[in-house]
């Protein structure tokens, strides 16, 4: 019962195989969640980790009759979608794969981006040749009943493309995904020295950024687990990585701590980050707990499984 989560890919930006990433893993983001009595399958993101997940589903669930799969894409950047054509259930006749993702200013953008990967110049199989049916569901901010006792809440995050945070609730347990995400910034403050600086805009920018960051915190507050972008350290973030759309470990921990989060999984590891470096960060930031007072903080590792 409750919710079980498995990490099939934890890396950000680009798959990073090699001797330095064997322990935490080099595949880009893909999570599997099993929810409630029905063991309802929810997949989050289709990074390169989804290939192994697909194979595992083929061996068990698909053989047992699974014919519907729900994938929730946080956003359409490459590292979060590049594994999709290699997701084996796509090639099973009678399979329906529903892709949920953030709406954009463009109509049918999910279909354009995801379906667009099946073009002969990128990939040898055309969308028309897939045995399965792909359906696209574009989401705005809100609350959705997914059936079988599974509830979904969505919140837009700050990233250089439309990006959605997901919060799933089932059997009184909950987890939230907060990636890719950089805290909302007051863009009008950055140019204080510039001739265009306008105090009124800067004040409004300050209020807006603070309010949106508060809303993100409210969105994940009280969750049993949050899985949060923490690609950088604070020092790295402040050296030329502002505006790239990712968060710093220290900031994430600080924000989560004040919001009754029980466990915090840090994810979207930088492709340059070696296992030893992550261990070193873990030595600094890891805490064990899983209660409101002492939060369990850890760096997500490929293959890791968590039961809520």
């Amino acid at each position: 019962m409750g919710i079980r989560i498995k990490f099939w890919g934890v890396r950000g930006s680009i798959p990073s195989p090699g001797p330095d990433t064997v322990r935490y893993g080099g595949n880009t983001i893909c999570l599997e969640a099993r929810c409630g009595k029905a063991d309802r399958l929810v997949i989050i993101d289709a990074g390169s980790g989804i290939r192994s997940l697909g194979n595992s589903l083929m061996a068990a669930d698909v053989a047992d009759g699974l014919r519907e799969v729900d994938i929730f894409l946080t956003h359409t950047h490459w590292d979060h979608i590049l594994g999709f054509p290699f997701f084996a259930p796509l090639y099973i006749p009678g399979m329906t794969v529903r892709i949920h993702g953030s709406s954009s200013y463009e109509e049918n953008h999910l279909e354009k981006v995801i379906g667009g990967q099946f073009m002969y110049r990128y990939f040898p199989v055309r969308v028309e040749e897939l045995a399965s049916i792909i359906e696209y569901v574009e989401l705005g901010e809100g609350a959705f009943d997914l059936g079988e006792g599974l509830l979904l809440r969505t919140k837009r995050l700050n990233h250089p493309v439309s990006c959605m945070g997901y919060r799933f609730e089932c059997d009184g347990k909950s987890f939230a995904t907060v990636f890719d995400m950089e805290p909302f910034q007051n863009l009008f403050e950055a140019e204080k020295s510039g001739s265009a600086f306008d105090e009124r805009l800067a004040r409004e920018g300050e209020e807006t950024a603070a309010e949106q960051n508060r809303l993100v915190e409210t969105f994940y507050a009280g969750a049993d687990l949050i899985i949060h972008d923490a690609q950088y350290t604070r020092r790295e973030y402040h050296t030329a990585r502002k505006g790239w759309g990712h968060s710093a470990v220290e900031d994430v921990i600080e924000a989560a701590q004040g919001n009754r989060v029980k466990r915090l999984a840090l994810i979207h590891h930088d492709p340059e980050r070696t296992d030893d470096q992550i261990d070193e960060l873990a030595g600094k930031f890891h805490t064990e707990g899983s209660s409101d007072e002492v939060m369990d903080v850890f760096f997500a590792r490929e293959g890791m499984e968590i039961t809520l």
Partner: protein, 302 residues
């Protein structure tokens, strides 16, 4: 008028389809492209170029107020929208609107002179913001009046683009006979630009305050109690833009009596109105410099 449409065949579905892909104004296109293609776009420049175009402003506010965000209150401020949506999304949204504008081309037979339309919209925006200051609207809320003025005639764009020949006839007749443009629009098309403006504001979820500005600026006495001052300010700004502004948006002749009535209803001094002329001229000039377009002959276009 053989070509005029039947009153009962209001082409609202065509208008709604057009609304989803509305091109920005030709006058801002080049600068929009330049700013959005720059790798180091300043948020101030982005804010500025959007705020000079009623379509772009509307599109950005539409996105932030649509199902996109689960907001309790409408966002009517561009800087807010820029931070919430992020520079990248805004730049791409704005560019796609600008590209539509380059595709629709300037050489279509359109009744509405788009440069004149731009001048009128911006003049009304500047006037509305200034008049808001005159009636002691706090500084942080004056921008909403600017937006109301900027967008007030937005409903003309779909009518002009979708029914160019009908609209040309409407424009040719309206000023001469001194009758109301809205009346002519309704006669020929079965719908007028304030109704279309109301549709846009509703569909784009711009909020009742802005919706009332678009819908009621020609009948400002019908505004609801809550928005009556705002609608009157925009209505007066519209009249002043026609009186002092360098444009001819073709709405109707300037009406001295209407200005006086509106001015008195809002308790605005005549001297404040006199000051408006200079303010508008200054702001238009600044905008033209910012957009890198030559001023000059815009003043004596008729």
């Amino acid at each position: 008028m053989e070509r005029s449409l039947q009153r009962d065949s209001i082409p609202t579905n065509r208008i709604e389809r057009y609304m989803a892909r509305m091109p920005s104004l030709p006058v801002t296109v080049n600068r929009v492209m330049e700013i959005c293609n720059s790798p180091s776009t300043s948020p101030y420049d982005l804010n500025r170029v959007i705020s000079l175009d009623p379509v772009l402003t509307g599109q950005v506010l539409r996105l932030v107020n649509s199902a996109y965000y689960g907001l309790r209150n409408e966002v009517t401020s561009l800087p807010r929208a820029i931070i919430m949506l992020g520079m990248n999304t805004i730049k791409n949204l704005v560019v796609s609107s600008a590209i539509l504008s380059t595709m629709s081309g300037r050489d279509d037979v359109h009744a509405l002179d788009m440069d004149a339309f731009w001048l009128h919209s911006l003049s009304a925006a500047v006037a509305a913001k200034r008049l808001a200051a005159c009636i002691k609207i706090p500084a942080e809320n004056q921008e909403e009046y600017f937006v109301g003025g900027l967008l007030h005639d937005l409903g003309k764009i779909p009518l002009n683009s979708l029914f160019p020949s009908e609209y040309a006839e409407i424009m040719a007749e309206a000023p001469q006979k001194g009758t109301d443009l809205c009346e002519k629009e309704r006669k020929f098309l079965g719908i007028d630009h304030t109704q279309v403006g109301g549709m846009i504001a509703e569909k784009w979820k711009l909020g009742v305050a802005i919706e009332d500005c678009l819908r009621l600026h020609h009948e400002s006495l019908s505004a609801s109690e809550r928005n009556v001052d705002r609608v009157r300010i925009v209505a007066l700004a519209d009249l002043c833009a026609r009186r002092f502004g360098p444009d001819n948006a073709g709405t109707c002749c300037f009406d001295e009596e209407a200005v006086d009535m509106m001015r008195l209803a809002l308790s605005i001094d005549q001297t404040d109105l006199d000051d408006l002329r200079e303010t508008m001229a200054d702001e238009i000039e600044k905008a033209m410099i910012f957009l890198h377009i030559a001023g000059g002959d815009h003043g004596d276009k008729d």
